[in-house]
Symmetry: C2
Subunit: 405 residues, 2 copies
């Protein structure tokens, strides 16, 4: 008799952003005359830049000629891209990462969701609260989290590390030792970033306790301050305790292109000495067939001089939005965080209004979509996320509307 994976049934409700898009669709249907501006989901709005487009067209042309046609890609990524990544994102920053420690994939969301699979089902995870839902949900599906406690809004076997204004949105070392620690910095959703010193503490902690840190560096390109590390491998000892996940979505605007990568150093081993590098390679080889050639060429273009300049301009474009939002909200009397090393602005809802109530108010009174902090975890209650990924025009219009409510 066929049985479904009962762990899936422990997932509470639907994926946060699906819920939001349904609410927005209903609002639009009921208010066909109003223009709705979304500063909700972290999706970019600016087109791909010239160097990327050139690389994509050239790769498509190659696929059209027998001499240059490419079939199955190497499971772990083409050498040209793995080298470009290792050289530019790591070795140029003094991080000792080899080309073959880079695993190219179809995106950071897939990697964030799949990475838990190489660990034992009894491993205990620790996550920040609030947190990007994929880390927890993928572990729920694997049966690693226990049951959901509706009242607490938490799973019984997960270690939650509250990140609120009181601790500067920086997680404290937990009392109980986790096996797997998820850290995202610059952080989604709070928009804050960990200092080199704070991250080093976590690396030391993980090495001491033989835990692994899954470090999500998706927003690395938005770092503007000196003491914020761009990679966890800037910390001493990270090669024996850290996996790093990277996205091309937020720097190069690849949300619809799909490309990402994960770094697993060869020294990284479990308590029995099993190297995780080989396990992840095996997963890629068995359940994935390589990222598309066309996309990998586009990824390589990110590291050319033209690509670098264009991506810097793209990031600046969005960070100008962040500044506009920050300033307008402050002016309107809101308490705001983030927006300096990250494309997210995290605001305290006025008068202690609940996150979802503020969501409804913003949608109904201003026609602006944001993301309720509570959607990211109970410690996100009373907070609200706005993204800097809109166009300049929409962002300005949105803050004008918000100022009026």
């Amino acid at each position: 008799m066929l049985k479904a994976n009962a762990n899936y049934l422990n997932l509470p409700g639907s994926y946060l952003f699906s819920t939001i898009s349904k609410k927005v669709a209903a609002y639009k249907e009921a208010n066909p005359d109003r223009t709705v501006i979304s500063l909700g989901i972290g999706d970019v709005t600016q087109p791909l830049s010239p160097a990327i487009l050139k690389a994509l067209h050239a790769a498509v042309d190659e696929m059209g000629a027998r001499e240059t046609f490419r079939g199955y890609a190497p499971d772990l990524g083409y050498g040209f891209l793995r080298t470009a990544i290792a050289e530019n994102d790591y070795r140029a920053r003094g991080c000792d990462i080899a080309d073959d420690e880079i695993f190219v994939s179809d995106g950071a969301k897939s990697d964030s969701g799949n990475i838990q699979e190489i660990f034992d089902e009894k491993c205990v995870i620790a996550v920040c609260d609030p947190v990007y839902p994929v880390y927890v949900d993928s572990n729920v599906m694997a049966g690693r989290t226990g049951l959901y406690n509706e009242n607490a809004g938490r799973f019984e076997n997960v270690i939650y590390m509250p990140c609120t204004a009181e601790n500067g949105f920086s997680p404290s070392l937990p009392d109980k030792t986790p096996d797997i620690i998820y850290i995202c910095s610059p952080n989604n959703p709070t928009g804050t970033a960990m200092s080199r010193k704070d991250l080093q503490e976590w690396v030391d902690y993980a090495n001491k306790n033989h835990s692994v840190i899954i470090y999500d560096a998706a927003y690395e390109a938005y770092i503007s301050e000196e003491d914020i590390p761009h990679s966890i491998y800037e910390c001493e000892g990270a090669r024996t305790c850290a996996i790093e996940i990277h996205s091309f979505s937020k720097n190069a605007g690849f949300t619809g292109v799909r490309l990402g990568y994960t770094v697993i150093p060869k020294e990284l081993k479990d308590a029995d000495g099993v190297a995780l590098h080989g396990l992840w390679a095996r997963r890629h080889g068995t359940k994935f067939n390589g990222a598309p050639y066309i996309q990998q060429r586009a990824g390589a273009a990110v590291y050319t001089p033209e690509g670098k300049a264009e991506i810097k301009a793209l990031v600046s474009y969005y960070m100008e939005n962040a500044k506009v939002i920050l300033e307008a909200l402050k002016e309107a009397g809101y308490t705001v965080y983030g927006g300096v090393n990250a494309p997210y602005i995290w605001l305290k809802t006025p008068d202690g209004v609940k996150s979802w109530e503020f969501f409804e108010r913003l949608l109904n009174e201003a026609g602006v979509v944001g993301t309720p902090g509570a959607g990211f975890g109970p410690s996100g209650e009373g907070y609200f996320r706005l993204t800097a990924f809109g166009t300049h025009e929409n962002t300005k219009e949105a803050v004008e509307r918000i100022k009026k409510i």
Copy 2:
């Protein structure tokens, strides 16, 4: 203390095609003057066709303009592609499949590997022997197969259904009832295809026993005979027992482009009435971020009048190779199977020589790479797979060389 997923350690050796490519690389290094022809891995050699290239370039252009730029795709696929698939691959053939029962992905290998995840870890799987390694390996990783018995070349908790010349390479209904049945038709590796009548028997069996059939239709475009079904949904009752997986790799040459899809009818439920459609949707929403817009446009081009004509020509090109291989091998005294409804030729090794021994002989004496039948399972021992995916020139050259040994 961090523990790796110990199930991974039950995987025997490395992925079949990685082993082969290592052996070939070693041979090439030792024999730099010899040209090696690969009729081994099922990778295509012909470039993408004009309609596909046009769609790819147009989509890249769209990504370069703000008005037409596309960010995150809908998790389950763009409507334009889901409709084209449901309409052309199903409803035009009289199969009752709705647009929203189509889940677009980055390829059939990912779907084949990931689909097991929505089932309970205690479910028992049945596979043909020989079999495409991904079905078994992905279940090993999930802990569903028990330990590997080195002598038997089999996992203790898997139901193997031998497919040999004696039963016409068609699996018989097993004695013990499986929960999950993997069927690939036209078959990889044997190149044989199940008749409508035989497949109906399996559908009836699955419905009676409340099992699910995971039907891999990756080679559907190669069917040339009338009584071979193009989809399992041509069988009565399949909507309550079958999942179908499709690839664009073998019809449109997308091995390096990456696009596929899976069909899960809404009536398909486990023994407790849990609908699998919702579970797979949730998996897509949590661990995947949609197939790239560019690729989905290329997929839609497959269903245009030009696309259809070009793909028919592409399939004919490879099937001419199949004919060349079949005829030459018969002439040389080999016993051969497949190659009529599939791009694979399955030959009996001469004089009962072991599959890997024949692999070495073919490589060393003819400079031709094929795939040892034993690599697909113990019942593949004494068989050998050649693919029709080469160029005409290479295929002809390869069979000439084989004839001489």
